[in-house]
Symmetry: C2
Subunit: 256 residues, 2 copies
């Protein structure tokens, strides 16, 4: 597709990774907005573009405006934004498309289903991009834009995206907390956390071949009451972890 001009509202991890991905594909990052001078300056420099910390100074001639900001400020920013003819998309998993409906004419959602961290570059090629737009024409256009950076572009309703976002909390945020609990237990036993890396890597790669239910191992799925009781006892000094252990074990058995 021809080179387009993209403006970013936000300069955090998501905005940074997306801006760099589009820039790499030859598109022009036209402007960066962030309320933080430092963040917007850093990203603007990396994208060889200009920035502003005043939302009303956003130029109105970009082709696409990508809003990658915290959910809590998204609505306010949309309302403060000048009317611009380009396509406005937010990147929030749990926010509906209609946030834009009284503010702009062309709008949609562009939700990359991934966890973004500072200083970790993301491979976009296989990254699922879930998109939605307010008209057929905008859908087609957004799809074309998205395919620039990923092979995996999926149309999805705001309702589906809610479920998607929730599933990501389990698959990513809660999984990471399981790692955090493992680290806590290993630290208490004076064992370096890095020794659990191979187990974690195998657990996550296993599901490429097996459905999670088939891949389930451990005392709960075996109904190994003796081991479960030992573990619960070992968690006596960590009551919340103990309750988490009990509930997850129960649910594993329910899933069978």
């Amino acid at each position: 597709m021809k080179k387009i001009k993209i403006t970013f509202i936000g300069a955090g991890n998501v905005a940074t990774q997306l801006a760099l991905a589009f820039k790499k594909k030859g598109h022009q990052i036209q402007q960066i907005y962030s309320r933080s001078t430092l963040s917007s300056e850093i990203l603007a420099k990396r994208c060889n573009t200009i920035y502003t910390t005043n939302i009303t100074e956003i130029q109105n001639d970009a082709d696409v405006y990508i809003y990658a900001v915290k959910d809590s400020v998204l609505q306010d920013l949309i309302q403060a934004m000048p009317i611009c003819n380009g396509l406005h998309v937010h990147t929030a998993g749990s926010m509906p498309i209609n946030l834009f409906e009284n503010s702009q004419t062309n709008y949609g959602v562009f939700y990359p289903f991934q966890t973004f961290s500072k200083n970790r570059d993301i491979n976009f090629e296989k990254l699922p991009l879930f998109i939605e737009a307010n008209t057929e024409k905008n859908s087609t256009y957004l799809c074309k834009i998205a395919k620039n950076i990923s092979e995996e572009v999926i149309f999805c309703s705001s309702e589906q995206r809610k479920a998607l976002h929730l599933s990501g909390v389990f698959a990513c945020n809660f999984t990471n907390h399981m790692y955090a609990i493992a680290e806590e237990l290993l630290t208490q036993a004076n064992i370096p956390f890095r020794l659990v890396y191979p187990l974690i890597a195998e657990t996550s790669s296993k599901i490429n071949d097996l459905q999670p239910k088939e891949a389930q191992t451990g005392p709960a799925v075996r109904y190994d009451r003796e081991t479960i009781d030992k573990h619960l006892k070992a968690l006596n000094n960590l009551p919340l972890e103990k309750e988490i252990y009990r509930l997850i074990s129960k649910n594993i058995q329910r899933y069978g």
Copy 2:
């Protein structure tokens, strides 16, 4: 080290993977025991050796006896086993070394910290092997044996191994259940589970660079009450998952 003779008590996933790993390094698998004719026959064939389904028929001249069986039958098998001068080791994370103390002279534990599945070959080279033995001499010998198949051999007490095993339940079994819940939610929303693979892969590889606490993202760690409430509401038809969501979110906030 010189070629040794190893007998396996058990013919399941762990026994299979270990037997193949030792065979590959040139050691001789002397005999396989399993109560199941089919399992023992299959593994014996793959190891080019003989098998028995009668524990009393185990030959007494192997150098090492590796017990890789379910925790629930381990003690009975140890008691039924003929006295043999070789080194006897079990592979159970949550079982103490002293199971052997009234049965054999030379014994220990050989605990591979990994999840083993049928038909998935494990790379042993970096796999942490936690070992323990009843004498200094047996420790040294067991360490030498273990180093044949892995660079990562760690001495660890039965007490430490308990914590290790428990940490593995969180890092592997419970993590896999988080995937199972994600799958359930995606299926309900008519979204293919495979679209969550990149998120899962990134989540697990992130902790090679960041401690889990630093890597934590999501509504809980942001204290994003609005999103948490939306998610809890969306889980109304799944009360156990809802409670798991609530507790893990609470614990994420406690870890900060």
